[in-house]
Structure formats: C-alpha cells, structure tokens
C-alpha cells in the first residue's frame, strides 16, 4: 500500500466532506425563510430577536456568499458549530459522546450477522439447486427486505410481554451500586476492563434486541451474496483446472472458491455497515430508548436544532467515508492482484 494512495484518498475524502458542508449551508441559505431564524433554532419569547441577531452575525449574512461559505466551512472544520439548541452544549463533543453507543450497537449487530450470513451462504452454495438451498435463500431474501424498525418493534414487544425490560443502554442503579464508570465509552469493553460481570451482562442483554434488529438486513444480504459469489466461483477455470489436477474437495471449497468470494463479501459488508448506521439511528432511541446518535437525530428534529443537524450531517458523512475507505483498504489487503 503506497503512501501516495492513502494521501490521495484522504485528500479526496476531505474534499467531499467540504462539499457536503457547503451543500448543507446552501440548503440553509436558499430555502424559504430567514436563515438566521433557522440557525437560531426558531426561538420564541422575549430573547428571540437577540438570538436571531446573534445568529445573523455568526453566519455573516450580510457578506457575499463565498465569504459566508468560507466562514461556515472553516468553523465546521474547526469543530466550532456553536452550542446545540436542544442541549445547550457544544455540538461536536456532544455528538462524539453519543457516537460510541451507536457504534457499539453496530459492531455487535455485525458480529452476529457476518459470520452467520457467510456460513449460511456457503452452506447453500454447496447445495445449489437443492431444497435447503431454496429455503435458505428464500429466508435470506425475506430478511433483506424486512423493515428494521418493524423487527425492532416486534422484538421489543416480545421482550416486554415476557416481562423483561430492556429499555435503555444500561441499568443505572446497578451500574452505580457496583461502582461502574465509563472509560472508553464502550460499555461492553469498560465493564470487562473493570471486571464487572454484572454490568457486562446487563449491557449485553440490552444490546441484543436492537443488535438483532439491525443485524437482520446484513444477514439477509450476506446469505444471498455469499451464495451467489461462491456458486460463480465454482464455475471458474481456476477451480476447474485444479480439480482436474486432483486437488481435494475441501481445499477447493475453502481456498479456491471461498477465497475468490471474499473481496466481494468485504465490499458489500462495508457498504451495508455504513447503511446500517442509519438503521441503528432510527431504531435505537425511538424503540429502545438508548442514548446515541438516534437520540440526537430525534431531538434535533423536535427542537429545530439546525446546528446539531449540521454536526450530525458532518459526522455521518465522515463515518461513511471512513468506512468506505477502510473497506477498500481491507479489500486490497486481501486480494493480491490489487496493489495500491
């Protein structure tokens, strides 16, 4: 992997983030209504006009457009978006603190979905045309089309009916009484580091239903994708000819067909990981009451918090770009033909 590539890639990503920030700003400016009002969060009450004037100054609405854009982008890049209207705290640190919760959820969901999806995909590829194959693929197709929030609600329902409340991220009373305190922000890790088994189990249990809900989509996709890629690989020359040379069946399956399928699997997994962030955001707060980016999204909406929205847009965009870049890099590492 050349430094050249990494540099070019990072530069390109920065350029794109730049473009997204500009685009968001343009939405703010050119939509009907007074941008200052929106930036101030549609304030009401006695101090409203002050807030609006402050917002107008902040944006520099009297300056020419390119200056406004430059100022805005500069501020965002420096992490200076101002205080969230909903939370009265600086936006970006707020977002970072909530990011871990959502990430934790995503990772657990994918830890479940990826190995299971690949395994079922291989299983059905080897039995292509059989009943099990059709069954597994049908299940995969259904899973890939399930609305995540519907599954989430269903799971929540099931757990509530059985009397288990899995609302929220952690049982605060339990945490306090056992002396748990967050270190990295990833509660699973933190509880392990502190050797706090009770909290670990508590956090894990609360993670499972949302993780399962988020895992449904990638599971379905991978079941189908792995099977397709494997079945295709088994038709290739580099599988047929080694078979003619007498290579054992298990070697052919695992080191020839499967290895050929991995790059595709990695690429799609990465793509869907980015997509699942949104899934997770939609589901985690509204259904499961967890604090995370979804929580912020919800509040940004309800408090007309444009600052928070800009922060979210930027962070989510960066997340997408990082995930895509990492996916490409991992793919390149795995495929000897690609030398970056």
């Amino acid at each position: 992997m050349s430094i050249n590539y990494v540099v070019k890639r990072v530069f390109w990503c920065i350029l794109i983030v730049f473009g997204i920030i500009v685009f968001s700003y343009l939405i703010l400016i050119f939509s009907p209504g007074d941008p200052a009002v929106k930036w101030a969060g549609n304030p009401r009450g006695p101090y409203a006009s002050m807030a609006i004037e402050k917002a107008r100054e902040e944006l520099g609405l009297n300056d020419p457009l390119y200056l406004q854009i430059a100022r805005f982008v500069y501020n965002v890049f420096n992490g200076n978006i101002g205080d969230s209207i909903a939370y009265k705290q600086p936006v970006l640190p707020l977002i970072y603190s909530r990011l871990q919760s959502t990430l934790e959820l995503l990772v657990i969901a994918y830890v479940i979905a990826v190995p299971l999806g690949i395994f079922l995909g291989i299983y059905s590829a080897l039995r292509r045309g059989s009943r099990s194959d059709s069954l597994i693929q049908a299940v995969g197709t259904i899973l890939a089309n399930m609305p995540t929030f519907w599954v989430a609600t269903g799971l929540f329902l099931v757990f509530s009916m059985s009397g288990i409340s899995l609302y929220g991220r952690i049982n605060t009373r339990l945490a306090l009484s056992t002396g748990f305190h967050p270190i990295t922000g990833f509660y699973l890790l933190d509880s392990l580091i502190q050797g706090n088994l009770l909290v670990f189990i508590d956090v894990l249990l609360r993670l499972l239903p949302p993780a399962l809900a988020v895992a449904v989509y990638p599971l379905g996709v991978l079941i189908r994708l792995t099977r397709t890629l494997m079945a295709e690989a088994l038709l290739e020359d580099f599988v047929r000819v080694p078979v003619a040379w007498g290579v054992r069946r298990d070697i052919i399956i695992w080191r020839y067909a499967l290895k050929a399928s991995i790059p595709g699997v990695i690429q799609i997994s990465g793509l869907s990981f980015a997509y699942s962030l949104i899934d997770a955001m939609v589901v985690e707060y509204t259904v499961f009451g967890r604090e995370g980016l979804g929580n912020l999204l919800y509040d940004a909406l309800n408090y007309s918090d444009f600052r928070l929205a800009i922060g979210l847009i930027t962070v989510v965009a960066v997340f997408y770009l990082v995930v895509n870049t990492l996916t490409d890099i991992i793919q390149a590492l795995v495929d000897p033909r690609v030398r970056l």
Binding site: L235, V241, P242, A244, R248, R255, A260, D335
Partner: protein, 321 residues
C-alpha cells in the same frame, strides 16, 4: 498393448435451462495406447475441447453424456453416469489453454503445488517444494523466481509453464493438453515438445494433444484424429495423414496451411462450421464438402483403409479415390 483411454460411441452435449440439449460430440470412438501421443485437431467448436474435458474429468455440470469412456479399464463415463474417483490428478492430468485464468489468483505458485501434491500424494510442505523445484526446472523456470509469486506477477509464458509443471507434477500417466503452446514462443514450444517426447519414452506417458496447429501436430503426434462438428472424420498415423489426407476436410485443412517460403495462394475453407445443436443424420461435412454426392445424405460409417480410419462415402470401395 495397454489402452490408456478408450471411447465407445461417446456422445456429449450441454443442457440449457429449458432442458434442450446441444450436442458437441456426436458419437466418437477411439483408443489411445500407453506411451502414445494422440492429437485431436479441428476448428473451434468441433468438440475437441469437450472430449479433452471428458477425459480430464472436468465436464461442466450441465453436460449430458451417452456412450462409454474408459480410462485404463475404469469406466468413467457410462451413459449418463460419470465417476472419476481416483482418476483426477492421479491418473489423468490437464494442461489448460489459458493459464492466466487457470491458476488461483489468491495463492502463490508454491501453495498451488502444495494443494495438488498434498491431495494426490499426501506430501507435506517440504516434500512438495522439493518436487515443485524439480518440475519447474523441467520447464526451464527458475524456482526462486516463481514459487513465492502470485500468478499475476508472472508473464504469460511463465504462467503457462508453471501450469504445465504443476500438471506434470501430479505424476499422472495420461495428460490432456488443450492448446498448450499458444502462449509460448517458438523456442519454448520446441522445448515443450521435446519434453513431452521424453516423457512418453521414459515414463510411458500418454499425451492427448488438442490443437488447431496442424504443423506441430504432424511433427510430434503418433496418431492424429481430425474432428469436425462432433465427429471424427479421419484418424491415422501422424505425418502420413497430413501428406496423404483422405477425407475432403483433412485435405482442405492441409491446403490451408501457409508454408514458409513456398509461394502459394492463401486458401481458406469456405463456409462456416455447423452450429452446435441437434441431431444430424447426414454427413456432418456435407454442406462444406466440395465433392459431396447423393450418398452423403446419411452419415458415412468408419472405414478402415490400411492403417487409416476415414468417414467418407468416397472410400466405399477400398482403394478407390
């Protein structure tokens, strides 16, 4: 004489998703002895590669078969049934036409040797590398410049030679080679031919060479079979077949070969080979044959003239031309 390969009225077709069968090989019978170099020549689409695949045991899964194919007395094809257990690699090996796509892009050459040798002989890594070095040397490849590399890091010629050396390393006594010299230069081509001859003489290797290069075939082969549209139209001893062709198609093939230094008009064979398809009861060459007559409405049987096998009505009366 021990027979390495024997085909009895072998037919091979391909089935599409609508259950229609396209016949590529319409009933061929031939024999290959031990220690013999047997060439199958013909235009593209005549079925020669299919026969090669059948012997090597890599017919695709949508292939349908009828007739019988024996490899050293083992019936590998028995009408619709196929059974290649113990054959692939151990008894029959394969040299592919396109080495670039036939080597695993995700493994080094050393690994690929190991996969083959551990599967066929149970060698461990060390023994496998030893063997690999020996066979790479046979094809004039420097092991240190090849073993640790991935296929795409080698040139086309090196890839082909690497594939050949893996094929030989199986120690199989029958090798099916599908246009093995296409990516080799003249020198390497000659080396390869010499190597094949040596193997034939030393380890009694049977080589089934599939090619459209008549000239090389004539130089190296003990027996040549000329195929057209899924049938063997003529079969006979190497160079004789080319100097004294009997079947009209063979004649046209020979005429079409440009000879260096000899000024003669470039002749091509008019018409197109028939599309791979359904059953044909008439002589497969009829449409393009310059000397077809009424009898050609039925496919001619195989006639033996001295040591030659010909499928043409013109030879009904032995010795007639």
């Amino acid at each position: 004489m021990v027979l390495a390969v024997k085909a009895v009225d072998l037919k091979i077709g391909y089935m599409d998703e609508e259950e229609k069968i396209y016949w590529a090989v319409r009933g061929v019978s031939f024999q290959v002895s031990e220690s013999e170099i047997y060439c199958i020549v013909g235009e593209s689409g005549c079925g020669k590669s299919t026969i090669g695949n059948a012997i090597a045991g890599i017919l695709p899964s949508h292939a349908v078969t009828s007739g019988k194919l024996y490899i050293y007395d083992k019936k590998v094809i028995d009408n619709e049934k196929m059974d290649y257990t113990g054959i692939r690699g151990r008894v029959v090996s394969y040299i592919p036409q396109n080495p670039g796509t036939s080597l695993n892009p995700y493994e080094t050459i050393e690994e690929q040797f190991y996969h083959v040798l551990s599967s066929v002989y149970g060698y461990d890594k060390r023994k496998s590398v030893e063997t690999a070095r020996r066979y790479l040397a046979m094809v004039e490849l420097d092991p240190d410049k090849v073993l640790d590399y991935y296929p795409h890091e080698l040139s086309g010629g090196m890839q082909q030679r690497a594939a050949i050396s893996i094929a030989l390393a199986t120690g199989a006594r029958i090798i099916v080679a599908d246009e093995p010299t296409s990516s080799l230069d003249a020198h390497l081509r000659l080396q390869l031919i010499r190597l094949m001859r040596k193997l034939r003489d030393t380890v009694r290797l049977s080589l089934i060479l599939i090619t459209h290069d008549l000239v090389s075939a004539g130089r190296i082969c003990d027996t040549i079979a000329v195929m057209y549209a899924g049938k063997i139209v003529e079969e006979g001893r190497g160079s004789l077949l080319l100097t004294e062709p009997l079947h009209p198609y063979t004649q046209m093939l020979v005429d079409a070969v440009p000879i260096l230094g000899l000024k003669k008009p470039l002749k091509s064979i008019p018409g197109e080979p028939p599309q791979v398809g359904g059953e044909i009861s008439w002589c497969v060459f009829r449409e393009r044959c310059p000397v077809a007559f009424e009898k050609c409405g039925i496919h001619p049987p195989e006639l033996y003239i001295m040591e030659r096998k010909v499928s043409c009505w013109r030879y009904m009366n032995h010795g007639a031309r």
